[in-house]
């Protein structure tokens, strides 16, 4: 008797769970679906009341118009180059510093690590005006270098990779030392490869956040040809304030590469971002 009622309550709770999850998924997916559907409608169709769900035709006109009004090729290129350079710098410098902070003894270590912590605690906007003035003084505004500039070093990356070097037992380094490795060799040949999963997480994190960043590219690269996908979209918004089909096409074009990467490397993306969650 009791067993049966327990099974019944288990079943109802499962039904509730699935209903809630499916409902939630629909709410999560709907904006994306609506974006895709709208991108194939004409302006007048998009303004029909009651609205059509499916577009009357499959057409690429809106994509053509979005591509014609914004230099998407440049925007892709700028975004990709910014991401590549930021990732290289973050991984290289943060690995070196993270290793030194975790494994080496040197005077003033705590003070220097304090600088790392301080940067992590302050919002990036407090640095942005002087950083912009530096870029202007260096004469590199409107360039890929300007986009990369604040990402030359990563306090968060240093902090994060230090954690993973701390997790490596001391014996590993000692063994390498006995084999005649110097500090650099120990780091580069033995230790660095052991942090592979953390480096992957940092890569994903750096890439996604560089790609989403809006204020810095908006401030530093005003030339349309030097914009990133994010800042370019902000410009498109102004150009086509009521032409939503074109805006949807443009947004789709900007989102697609990252979404495809995400769908292919789901696990790495989710775990990477969750691992870096401490930020």
């Amino acid at each position: 008797m009791q067993k049966k009622s327990m099974e019944n309550s288990k079943r109802t709770s499962m039904i509730i769970t699935y209903t809630a999850l499916i409902l939630g998924s629909i709410i999560m997916i709907f904006p994306f679906v609506w974006m895709i559907l709208t991108s194939s409608k004409t302006v007048s169709e998009s303004m029909q009341i009651p609205p059509t769900i499916f577009p009357n035709q499959l057409m690429a006109d809106n994509f053509v118009e979005a591509l014609a009004s914004l230099p998407f090729v440049n925007m892709y290129l700028n975004t990709i180059l910014m991401i590549i350079f930021r990732v290289i710098f973050a991984v290289l410098f943060s690995s070196m510093a993270g290793y030194a902070f975790a494994k080496l003894r040197f005077k003033g270590k705590n003070l220097l690590f304090g600088i790392v912590l301080m940067q992590m605690m302050l919002p990036s906007q407090i640095f942005i005006i002087p950083q912009y003035q530096m870029v202007a003084k260096l004469g590199i505004a409107n360039s890929v270098a300007a986009l990369v500039f604040p990402g030359l070093v990563s306090a968060f990356g240093t902090f994060f990779l230090r954690q993973s070097y701390l997790a490596i037992p001391e014996e590993v380094g000692e063994a390498a030392y006995l084999d005649g490795c110097n500090q650099w060799q120990t780091f580069a040949k033995i230790m660095f490869p052991l942090t592979r999963s953390s480096v992957a997480a940092l890569t994903v994190f750096t890439a996604v956040f560089a790609y989403s960043d809006l204020m810095w590219p908006l401030v530093v690269n005003s030339d349309l040809k030097m914009m990133t996908l994010s800042s370019g979209l902000a410009t498109l918004r102004g150009q086509f304030s009521t032409n939503f089909p074109v805006l949807m096409a443009g947004s789709l074009l900007a989102m697609l590469p990252m979404v495809i990467l995400y769908l292919v490397f789901q696990r790495q993306f989710i775990e990477g971002i969750a691992m870096t969650g401490g930020k």
């Binding site: 009341i49 005006i129 950083q131």
Partner: protein, 296 residues
């Protein structure tokens, strides 16, 4: 360790240490420490153009505190946190608990809820503006209403909060899920043998056990909400009549520093924002002692 008496091996180690932290530390000093000092200094200055500043004492702060737009931006920012953090964390916890149960397609659900995280806010906000559109937007069509979601100053901030919560649920849920997975199943088994129901189990086991993760997730969400900018910027352009009742502190900072070009008063807003973030963080850490359980 006394310097000067280091063995040659220890000295070598120390040199390697300096060499390896050098790029990061030099970079941080140039890109962050020095700009931080400059911003604080600039907040007491008037910007004369081309990076030249004149010291004017507290004038920027006095003007800022007299400016009603500034107080509204402060209020908007805090209200935005109130609207997004509790609801967002609650929904994320629900999603995490459901995903922690034995459901099929767990990975698929996780992927779907996490999706907004890899999309640029600029792109996401665009489709939400379309959904929220007062005349042709699908939301008003479904609800049969004619609410001006984005331009009515009474609801625009709520609309922004909806998008923020929708964007962050998956991310917060993934963090909370990893906390839930660390709770040993044996607690629940013991509790159900003792006859504790699901709700009792939630309050007596799940909530205390997950409280450290919950705390970290909440702090992060709060920080992000206090610094909100891109979402509101994309949603509410500068010509929108609802601007002053939606703009956050960082949005105001952006307009002041880079649109109006008054970098002195912009810097003052930035300093103020840092102060608010600091105060809120201190309160969070004091408050956590009451509910976060570290004895696992």
């Amino acid at each position: 360790m006394k310097s000067g008496k280091l063995s040659s091996a220890a000295r070598r180690e120390q040199n390697w240490g300096y060499l390896m932290v050098a790029p990061t530390i030099i970079g941080l000093i140039v890109l962050n420490v020095w700009p931080f000092i400059q911003t604080i200094y600039a907040s007491f200055c008037e910007h004369l153009g081309f990076g030249h500043y004149k010291f004017i004492g507290l004038d920027n702060y006095i003007n800022m505190f007299r400016d009603s737009d500034f107080w509204r931006a402060t209020g908007n920012t805090l209200l935005f946190c109130v609207l997004t953090v509790p609801v967002g964390i609650f929904l994320a916890l629900m999603v995490a608990i459901m995903l922690n149960a034995r459901v099929k397609f767990k990975g698929g659900f996780r992927t779907i809820f996490f999706l907004p995280m890899v999309c640029a806010p600029a792109a996401i906000t665009m489709v939400w503006r379309w959904i929220f559109n007062s005349e042709y937007g699908i939301l008003n069509q479904i609800l049969g209403t004619r609410i001006a979601w984005v331009t009515d100053s009474r609801v625009a901030l709520v609309s922004c909060a909806i998008v923020a919560v929708w964007s962050a649920i998956g991310y917060d849920a993934v963090l909370l899920l990893s906390g839930l997975q660390n709770i040993s199943k044996s607690y629940y088994e013991a509790a159900s043998i003792d006859g504790a129901g699901k709700i009792t189990q939630f309050f007596k086991i799940t909530l205390p056990m997950i409280s450290p993760t919950l705390f970290v997730t909440m702090i992060m969400r709060l920080m992000t909400s206090l610094k909100v900018y891109d979402l509101i910027y994309m949603m509410v352009e500068e010509t929108n009549p609802a601007l002053t009742s939606v703009q956050s502190l960082i949005y105001l900072f952006y307009r002041e520093s880079f649109v109006a070009g008054s970098r002195g008063s912009g810097s003052a807003i930035a300093v103020w924002t840092v102060l608010i973030i600091g105060i809120v963080t201190v309160f969070q850490f004091i408050g956590q002692k009451k509910w976060v359980n570290y004895e696992v």
